[in-house]
């Protein structure tokens, strides 16, 4: 795979791989922090909007944008996982074995991240934002 890559291609490939591994969970972290703090702080202050924007809409954005990010990371990890084959035999000089493992880990991390964001979205659909 990576034997004859230019440094630029190797850098882009490396960054894409890391996006494929950690993109989903980063998106989930953004979702959890944004959705929770919007809900908590606005309700605490007795508001039902955020700078004129309805609270439900703001929470929906905090669900949908991260969900899109996690979906993109999932697609990247599926691609990486399918393109990089694990090496068999003496793979000392090649990185494909570990790249395959990382892509596999990313694939499942992204799936879980997407599931958590989706479940948060379901909660936002069924529960009024400030009900205690």
């Amino acid at each position: 795979m990576s034997e004859r890559l230019s440094p630029r291609a190797a850098l882009v490939g490396g960054l894409l791989l890391w996006f494929a591994v950690l993109g989903g969970v980063s998106a989930w972290a953004v979702h959890a922090l944004a959705a929770w703090s919007i809900d908590e702080l606005a309700c605490e202050a007795g508001h039902d909007n955020l700078a004129g924007f309805p609270l439900t809409g703001a929470i929906a954005l905090a669900v949908l944008l991260p969900a899109a990010g996690a979906a993109a990371a999932l697609a990247a990890s599926v691609l990486a996982w399918r393109r990089v084959r694990p090496n068999h035999g003496d793979g000392d000089e090649r990185s494909t074995g570990r790249a395959h493992l990382l892509a596999f880990v990313g694939l499942w991390l992204n799936t879980l991240a997407l599931a958590m964001i989706a479940l948060g979205g379901v909660a936002a659909l069924v529960l009024p934002p400030c009900q205690r």
Binding site: G97, V105, G120, R132
Partner: protein, 644 residues
Amino acid sequence: MSSSTAAERGTGPDPAAMAALDSHWAAAPTLRNWFATVDHKRIGRRYLVTAALFFGFAGASALAMRTQLAGPEAGVLSAREYNQLFTMHGTAMIFLFSTPMLFGFGNFLVPLMIGTRDMAFPRLNAFGYWVFLFAGLFMWASVPAGAAPNGGWFAYVPLTDERHTPGLHLDVYTLGLLFLGISTTAGAINFIVTALKLRAPGMSLNRVPIFVWAIVATAFMVLFALPVLNLDNALLFLDRRFDTRFFEPERGGNVLLWQHLFWIFGHPDVYIIVMPALGIVSAVLPVFCRRGIVGYPLVVFSIVAIAIISFGVWVHHMFATGLPQLSYGFFSAASTVITIPSGLQIFAWLATMLFGRIVLSVPFLFVVGFLVTFVIGGFTGVMFALTAFDQQTTDTYFVVAHFHYVLFGGAVFPILAGIYYWLPKITGRMFDARLGRWAFWLVFLGMNLTFFPMHVSGLLGMPRRVYTYSGGLGWDALNVLATVGAYVLAVGLLLVAIGVVHALRRGDPAPDDPWGGDSLEWATSSPPKPYNFAVIPRVRSLHPVWDPATAESTGPGADEDRILAEGRRTLFTSEFDGRPERAVEMPEETLKPLVAAVGLLVLFLGLLFAWYWIAAGSGALVAGTLATWLWPPHRAPEEAGMTT
């Protein structure tokens, strides 16, 4: 099971190189060197022994509490004593036993498992141990003084502020944990750098033993979680001592801030405790099923997933605090999803057992004990993810039962399995298997007899943290059972200790690989030489000891750059692929870590007793020691490891 020796596998360069290695790595057995050692194996052993000692103190506190609770209205302990004992028991089990014990295994094993000669920062490692020892003594010394922490292991404000809990109790807690945090943080940094830079050539990420993955994930969790706890404790100390108002709502503070900060640390901490223990299970179980672990990539995924998601579930400890329901919803989602990676590991172990040929040896028995108890604890944990159930059972004995199943099951059983599994490697002696089996059955029965009835007393409404209760509420018989169980458990644990001492005194010499293990610690002598490996192996698979090509790499004809006999040296490799980079010089014995740790002890004592000038003076001593420690030595570039 098959066993082998290094000689059979053809290990060993020529005698001159061996003699050179010995002269550079072995320390003369002097008193100074006892205090000055930086050898990860000695430090690892000290962590294990010291953590076991603190476990003994915490266990004795538990026995005293169970004796008090054996019957209604008993007078063994007063309410004040009970408060201090349950707080110190919980705090010590979490902070002074579980994590340091598992860090002890990590210290001893990580360099051996990755095929290197020491931790990346050996002096920092020694410093971490001394700080741990002093912080533990600092906290335990408060018990006989009657000034032990008494606000529960999570020390909620406003109960723990100066108005409601005057005296030194909570200052011991906040300062003790801040002091200890220095050790844990230093250890975590050391594990990460060691595992990323010192792996044997060829050990790419997909060939790293699960135990090492678990330790590194734990170390990352420590680095992200612990600063939050440190901040929390620092704020509480400031509130109590200098009348700041971080947690006082009447003066613009916020009481829930303590809980948020505590549980942002506290929930990942559950995994910080359990994760390395699960790593022990993944090391021990496959060996006694005579095959590699099923689903290695899935187990790695599970470790990484737990390490990350555990930071997003903390509010489930606060389901009774009156936050908006939707906020609970976000955390409920993560709390439910995190069961998937946890469950995956259980299925990987079950599949390994299913497809393997089981050998029912003592370490394996403890692994089975772990599986049974941990699954029960996990099951009641999922029940708490339902907010409605949680609100009914919070602060009852149901919670006490749940977390003991998780923590005893998830930490103590694997630790006991690890002790029996690696004892031959650590001591060079075999243990008495019959004694081990007795110990297992007593621990297993005692543990279940102690904690199972607590589920029922909790459902019947018995609150936790009560020093006594009235008779006739339906709790009496359940409490008697729990107390009898605690004594049975104590006898079982005593047998474990007797077994270890017996092995040390009378045990048969252990072969290098008594169990037929697959990871690199079994490729060296029992106990290992000070330099661990005469030749740093070249790893060619996930199971290097089962793989003839890796074994051959340590035989005659090994390249000079993996013997490195000219000095106290080991090999740096690349982070992801384990490609050789350069040889590095490792530090020798030094007293500086001990001096710095003593300085810190005096500093924290100064803060505790409000002797601020003494605290400032010892702060200067610590800074001076660190400066001489870090001052670059005058060495030729080759010596300093600048060139290979």
